[in-house]
């Protein structure tokens, strides 16, 4: 068993929202760590060794332990470093937080991926599904500063990436779902989120984000076009 003072490393690409969830959580807990930049188009032997099943970032390496899948990493961090808890203490509230985290992955993250990586009808489908997911999220957040009320916590860390990333995603892929009139609660929460100290101080630079997302979008379109040609 590793002690909590053992060295911590985070493998990431620099711009993936899933690794930034981990950065925010580690910062929230005051845990020092080393960030190891991965080139996801040319995966290192370290990444392949530490996440052999999915071969994806983020991966948290803590001594001899390597943990992958960002929601699982968040729980590992919360259980290993007890100060500044992220998940609520009450089992019912924890269950609800986990439920909404999973909801956001299925009904917001997945449609965003579809809207970003696809074109035409498939993209429109993703955008529509995203709108519906945001409708439900709006009901959850409207009138509250953060998902837990006044306190910043787990669900904000899980969903908060959209406050910053969605803009670049939409710009690069040519869609727009964030209608302030349809989602006033989400719009306000996004502003609250970006004002939190550890978030403000820990966001990837916007020029790097824009150039990365333009490149990823070009790669997705090239992939779609090459598939069409081979039909």
């Amino acid at each position: 068993m590793s002690s909590s003072s053992t060295e911590v490393q985070l493998l990431g690409s620099g711009v993936s929202p899933f690794e930034w969830r981990i950065i925010w959580a580690l910062k929230w807990k005051g845990v020092d760590f080393e960030f190891i930049q991965e080139d996801v188009s040319n995966k290192s032997s370290l990444l392949l060794e530490k996440n052999p099943v999915y071969k994806m970032i983020p991966v948290l390496i803590h001594g001899r332990n390597s943990v992958s899948e960002s929601l699982i990493i968040l729980e590992y961090i919360d259980e290993t470093w007890k100060e500044n808890p992220i998940l609520p203490a009450d089992p019912t509230e924890r269950a609800h937080a986990r439920f909404w985290a999973k909801f956001s992955e299925d009904k917001i993250t997945e449609p965003i991926k579809q809207a970003f990586h696809c074109a035409g009808e498939k993209q429109a489908e993703g955008v529509k599904a995203l709108g519906e997911g945001l409708d439900i999220l709006e009901g959850k957040i409207r009138g509250k500063k953060f998902f837990g009320g006044d306190s910043f916590g787990y669900l904000d860390i899980v969903v908060g990436w959209i406050s910053y990333w969605l803009h670049f995603n939409q710009e690069a892929a040519g869609y727009n779902v964030m209608d302030q009139e349809r989602y006033p609660g989400i719009d306000q929460w996004m502003k609250n989120f970006l004002e939190v100290e550890i978030i403000k101080e820990n966001l990837p630079p916007s020029d790097e984000m824009m150039s990365s997302y333009i490149m990823y979008r070009e790669m997705s379109l090239a992939f779609l076009n090459s598939n069409n040609k081979s039909d």
Binding site: M1, S2, V53, H62, N65, V67, S68, E69, I72, I73, E75, Y76, E79, T80, P91, T92, R94, A95, H96, R98, F99, K102, F103, I136
Partner: protein
């Protein structure tokens, strides 16, 4: 703690409902099963899980919890005087959660794909199922550390996650003759499956594959008639 206020909404053949029932059995918590019809979304189901309209739902007093992995963790965190379901070490917990998520997101959905696949596609899906079983065999070696179950001496979170699926895996085995549970390829998992049928927490909640096959055939007949 009062246990008469615990209810589970769900259908007996559902692997996900059975996980919840296994977890309650581990903790010796009595509950009422409210049987649902898997082909009809009842008013109670829609009211209880308005977001997904799916079983299982756990009612505990005035609380309702959805999603089987979340419910199982809730059960573990509420009934603390029973045996633990999740391991105590944070890394072991992360590993158990990782493989349970793998089962739900990548591996078990392959069985639905198998039902829908035609021709050459079927071979590809069968291949993926077998590769997944090899990964789970490796996971068993890592997690069990030489003991009887993923959770060690007793069934734990990952045992419950996979045990819920075993009836359907065996039913698919019989229907297709695929021999998923091949002791020459996954000897430890095959041994583990046998032990499940003797374990007091789970044995009564492992549906008979033949009964599942009959149910499946009936469902297919109804779907075919409806689409004609």
């Amino acid at each position: 703690m009062a246990t008469s206020n615990v209810k589970v909404l769900g259908a007996w053949p559902s692997p996900f409902v059975n996980r919840v029932r296994m977890a309650l059995k581990v903790k010796s918590v009595e509950y009422e099963l409210i049987e649902t019809n898997p082909h009809e979304k009842s008013e109670l189901l829609i009211k209880s899980n308005p977001v997904h309209k799916k079983v299982p739902v756990l009612f505990h007093g005035d609380k309702k919890i959805c999603e089987s992995p979340i419910i199982v963790q809730y059960i573990d965190e509420v009934w603390t005087d029973g045996p633990s379901i999740l391991p105590s070490d944070p890394y072991d917990r992360a590993v158990a959660r990782f493989w349970a998520a793998y089962i739900d997101e990548k591996w078990f959905p392959l069985f639905q794909q198998l039902r829908d696949a035609q021709g050459a596609e079927r071979g590809a899906v069968l291949e993926k199922i077998s590769e997944g079983l090899l990964l789970l065999e490796g996971a068993f070696v890592d997690c069990s550390k030489g003991k009887a179950f993923f959770g060690g001496d007793n069934v734990g979170y990952l045992d419950i996650a996979l045990a819920g699926c075993v009836g359907w895996v065996r039913a698919s085995d019989i229907l297709i003759g695929a021999k998923f549970l091949d002791e020459t390829k996954i000897p430890r998992l095959v041994g583990w499956v046998e032990r499940l049928y003797s374990d007091s927490s789970v044995k009564d909640l492992m549906p008979d594959p033949q009964v599942l096959i009959e149910l499946y055939k009936k469902f297919q007949a109804v779907s075919n008639a409806a689409s004609e």
